[in-house]
Amino acid sequence: MYVELKNLNKRFGNYQAADGVSFSIEKGKLVGLLGPSGSGKTTILRMISGLEQPDSGDIFIDGVRVNDLPAAKRGVGFVFQNYALFRYMTVFDNIAFGLTVQKKDKAFIRARVTELIRLIGLEGLEKRRPHQLSGGQKQRVAFARALAPNPHLLLLDEPFAAIDAKVRKELRSWLRETIGKVGITSVFVTHDQEEAVEVADDIIITNNGRIEQIGSPVDIYRNPKTPFAAQFIGTSIRIPEYWKLHGYEKTPGFEHAVVRPEFVLVSKIEKEQYPVTSKRGVISGIFFRGNAMELNIDVNGLHLTSNQSLDEAAFAVGEEVSVLIYRLYIYNETEVRLVENSSIKSDGTFFI
């Protein structure tokens, strides 16, 4: 394990920012710390970097306990949320700063900075000041500046938060690609699940200063381990009293349920496949989502969402449809279970 946190605790006044945080990161992985704001993810990142000191617990980087090591000696590169580019220095000087502090010789610095500027694709902008750059360019400079002194670990705090939605997508894949090229172990913080899913090899979900779940995006999506993870990843809609739906029974100890859009099948009434289990609903809204249609359906006051591929039969708002919920996540305070619609199982058919 390259980075290892053992039972970290950190408190700011009444706010418990980290509560027994333990996890480890393999060398070369790109890991996303995902959680809502105030969940402690940035604090964890700042503790790894040395910007913040934990109240208790241990931090290991490459097998060495770094708690008492000054931040500058940890071999960590840090990209700040608002980049924190040095406003009064040029792009070149920004990237060179870490190397000049290390008193590297001029020729070496020039070569290294030139190499990094090529890596981030900003050739020709060396003499610009930060305020003459676009958000995406600033982000790239901040990235290069963090990489310049050759850190072993790269930490990025909300790397895309300050960027326009349009550029964000492009920058995400660029960052993923570039980090892969450099081969550096990286941890980034985000509150955007889409971003985490798209960029990270592994995701660590934080909530209220605690780690909820660690795993690959697919793994967390398929098998959420905690109620929070089930609700936070993917679109989820809470179903009150799920045992009143056809095909579900009350599992003792599980009071709540959520459903994902892909668990909901909407079909024309004449094409209904499971008449017994299906319910009738009314389409209350149709939204084009680029590669699919999002349907909002009202089933006796229960508002559900479903995705419909573009080449399937078109629906109209107000149309009465057949709705089938063939799976649910049920949960209590600590546990999540995936349950199938029992009537489909007994039928012996399973689709998709």
Binding site: F12, G50, Q53
Partner: protein, 288 residues
Amino acid sequence: MPKRAMGTNTGRSIRRRRNQVIPGFGLSMGVTIFMLSLIVLIPLASVFVVLSGATPQEIWKAITDPQTVSTYKVSFACAGIASVVNVVFGILLAWIITRYKFPLRRVLDGLIELPFALPTAVAGISLTTLYSDKGWIGGFFAKFGVMISYTTIGITIAMIFIGIPFVVRSIQPVLEKLDPQYDEAASVLGASKARIFFKIIFPEITPAALTGFGLAFARAIGEYGSVVFIAGNIPWKTQITPLIIKSKLEQFNYTAATSIALVMIIFAFCVLFGINTLQARINRIAQG
């Protein structure tokens, strides 16, 4: 460096909560507290050291001495009137500077700072001469039997001079932030100019105007240089409180001087506290 000295409980909590990587906390805090103590706190504490050697009766007698009380009246009355005048003209000046375009507007804006930049003694002798019965303005009023220099009118004028920048500079930023669209919207709705001002603008600038009033008032009470010449220092008539402190000091009556000083310090703190409370409210409005 002062890390070792701060091994107490509070010291530890300071260390834990401070920023972890930015260097220089110990040094800068050490220098700050050292210099602050040496130049401000310890000298100021001498007021209490000296007064601890006096009986409460002595102190009470000094601060309620009839001649001293007459100086409070002069100082407060003149400062009060001057600050009211300043609020009126302060709003007017801040308004024309932020809202209208006219020749020399920037010069006018810059001139507001004059009382900050001009040495108070120079302002003092200049105002005294200007408003004396032989001066340009004083001479005019003297024809009607109105004396300005060496009367409370003169004191008030000097206090207006010294206080005007405080009011203008308190109100100006609020007016600048106030979106002109705001009153445009009101005028589209058919409100008259006067109505817009009194119903919409005035409530917005009231806290700032009060802050300016407080600052100008506190300054006027404490002011010495620009007021002392024009006051003429006639006991019972035009003697201001800072002046009586100085004369007690020249008579080596340290207890009396220090007692009266304490009254002024307490008063200044009350004004400052009031202003800070107001300022907190202004900031809340400005932010949300």
